[in-house]
Symmetry: C2
Amino acid sequence: MALVVHKYGGTSVANTERICAIADKVSLARQAGDSIVVVVSAMSGETNRLIGLAREITERPNPRELDVLLSTGEQSTIALLCMALEKRGVAARSYTGGQVRILTDAMHNKARIMDIDTARLDAELNSGKVVVVAGFQGVDRDGNITTLGRGGSDTTAVALAAALKADECRIYTDVDGVYTTDPRVVPGARRMKQLSYEEMLEMASLGAKVLQIRSVEFASKYNVPLRVLSSFEDGEGTLITREDESMEQALISGVAFNRDEAQVTVQGVPDQPGIAFGILGPVADAGIEVDMIIQNVGADGSTDFTFTVHRDDYGRAMEILRSTGDKLGAREVSGNDTIVKVSLVGVGMRSHAGIASKTFGVLAKEGINIHMISTSEIKISVVIDEKYLELAVRALHKEFELEQAA
Amino acid sequence: MALVVHKYGGTSVANTERICAIADKVSLARQAGDSIVVVVSAMSGETNRLIGLAREITERPNPRELDVLLSTGEQSTIALLCMALEKRGVAARSYTGGQVRILTDAMHNKARIMDIDTARLDAELNSGKVVVVAGFQGVDRDGNITTLGRGGSDTTAVALAAALKADECRIYTDVDGVYTTDPRVVPGARRMKQLSYEEMLEMASLGAKVLQIRSVEFASKYNVPLRVLSSFEDGEGTLITREDESMEQALISGVAFNRDEAQVTVQGVPDQPGIAFGILGPVADAGIEVDMIIQNVGADGSTDFTFTVHRDDYGRAMEILRSTGDKLGAREVSGNDTIVKVSLVGVGMRSHAGIASKTFGVLAKEGINIHMISTSEIKISVVIDEKYLELAVRALHKEFELEQAA
C-alpha cells in the first residue's frame, strides 16, 4: 500500500463543484488502496479577496495579523473537501497547519518550515482516514499562525511527504506536466516523462512556473519523488526524481526563458577587492533581487560589472547604481530593459562537450546577437534582445531535437 | 484602571468601514485608560456564506468540519480589527479560540465552554496591548476546533469577562439598550437604565433578542456586570447586574411578548403518574422544544394537559400528539396556532401582591380572553389570541406606568 501526498492548488478547488471533483479523484485513489494525505490551497480568488479587505483597512497590514487573516483561506478549503469526502463515504479529517503542528520560524508572511510532528497524522492514516491538511501555513514556537508565502502549499506538500516518508508527492495543477519549452512559443513542445530535481530547479528558476523553487529544493534534499500532473485530465504527468541512468540519454531536457529581465552595467570601476560587494550591497539593501551576475577579467586596473534584475525593479536599480557608480568612480552606468534570458537545461550536458558552441552557432545562424553568457553545470543561459525571443527558442528547440520522443 | 470586555456582533463589523469605526471606538476607550479585551463575531453575512458553501457540497455537513469552516469567519474579523487598531497606533494582538485556549466540550456546533486559560491574555494586557479574541469558538481537549452555536460570541465575551475578572462586559449591538417593551408596538417604550439578570433572562426568553440567554445565565453565575449598548451611537445603554435596592422601586420592568407560539392540548387523559412523561417524551424525542407546560387539577380521574411550541413545529407536534393521544386513550387532541404569549417581568412583583389581578383586570377591561396563565416569581405570562397582541401590550405598558422615568 503506497502512501501518497496529493496537492491541489487554488484553481483545482476554485468552487464547490471542483472541490467535489477532487473528492471523486481522491475517493478513487483511496479505493485503489493508497493511503492519502491531501494538501490544499485557498479557493482561487480567496487570498486576493482577503488581501483586498486588509488593504481597505491599511496600506501596510500588520504581518502577524495578515497571516491570521490569510490562513482562513486554506482552512475553509480543508473543511469543504472533508465534507465532500465524507459524503462519498470516505472517512476524512481536516488539519490546519497548527493542528498538525507544522512548526515554522517566526518570519510572518514568508515563514520557513522547521519541523513537522507526524504523530497525529500517522494515527489518522493508520485508522484508514484520508487526512486533509491546509497548505501554506504553520505555527511558530509561541503558537502564532504563520504563512509560508505565496505558493507555499507546494512546500507544505513536499515537507509532509518527506516527514511521512511518502512514496510520492503529486502536485495537481492546471497543466498536465513539465514541457520541453512553453507550448505557446513552440507548438511542438513535448511533455517530459521524467526530469531530475536539478533540471526542474533550473527550469523553475527560469519562469516555468509549474512548481515553486522552494518545494523542488525541499524534494531534492529529502529525495521525495515529485509528480506534476493535471487536476482536470487523466495522465502520467512528469515525474521529478533523483537523476538516474535513463536520463543520461537526453543531452538537453528543455529550453526555458524569462521575459522579465533587465540588465544593468557599471563600466570602468577599479578592479580591486570589495568592488562587487560595493556595487551589490546597496541593491540588496533596497530589497531588489538580482538574477545573473557577470564580471569579466579586468584590464588597465579597471573592470566592468553587469547584473540582471526583474524589469519592475529596473528604474530603482539604475537610480541606486548611478549613485554607487559616482562613489566608486565608475566611468559609466548603463542599462537595458528590453532584453530576455534564454536557457538550455539538461543533465546530459555535463558529460558532453560542444553543447555551448552548438548553441552559439544556432543563434549566429539566425543573426541573433548575444549580450551576456552565463553557464552552470547543467545550464547555458544567454541574454538577447527581446525581439528575438521566439526565434531563438524555436531554433534551439528544433536543433536539439526536443520535439522527438525521448 | 478598569478592565473592560467589549463585544461587537456581526452588523457592527459588517464591512471594513465599520471595522474601522469600531477601531476608533476601542482606541478612544484605550486612551481613556481602560484595559480592553475585544470579542468579535464574523462579518454579517459571512457565516451564511460559509454555510451556503457547505450546503453546495452536502445537505448534512460533517459537524467537525463545519466548525473548522465556520470558525474562519471570526478569525478574519480579529485580524482585520487588529490591523485597524495598529494603524491607529494602538498595540493590538488577535487570538483565535484555540490560541487563547478556550477549552470546550467536544459537542461540535453547540459546544460549551469548560475552561479558559488566561495566562497569555493577562500577559498581553499587562504589556498594554488590546487583545482581540474570536468569539463563538474554542477547542476541545484533542485540539479540534469547536463552535458554540449561533450567538455564541456573547457567551465568549461573558466567559472571558468572568475568567479575567473584568469590571464590565459591554455588548455592543444595533439597539441602544433594553426597552420596557418593543418600541415598534409601543412607541413610548422606554430604555431601561438598569435591570437584574433574572429579569433579563425572562425578557430574553420571551423574544427580546438583544442578548443570548446562555450569556445572561453565564453573567449571572459569575456576577459579571453586563451592559447592552449601541455600536453606532453614544449612550449609557442598559446595565444588567445582580439585583440591588434601587431596583425594588419598579414593580414591573417590562412587557415582553412572543408571536411565534402555538398551543397543543390533550384532553381527558388518565390522571395518573407518568402521564406527563408519556405525552412529552415523544415530543422531546422528535427534537421539538416545548415552552409553557400547563396541567390543571384533574376531575373524574382524568385531566387536561396543554403546552406551547414554536409555530414552525405546530404541525409535527399535533401529529405526534394524535398518535400519543390514541395510545393514552385521550378524549380529544386540539390545538391553536394563532395565539401569542404576553408577559410582565419585574423583580418588584415578588414583594407586591396584586400584580396578577391588576394584569387580568386590564385585559378584561379591553375584552381580551385569556387562554392560559403561567407565573414565576418575577413573571406573569398569559396566552391570548394573536389579534389582541398590540392592544394587550399597550394597555399593560400604560397601566404599569412604564413610560414614566423609573
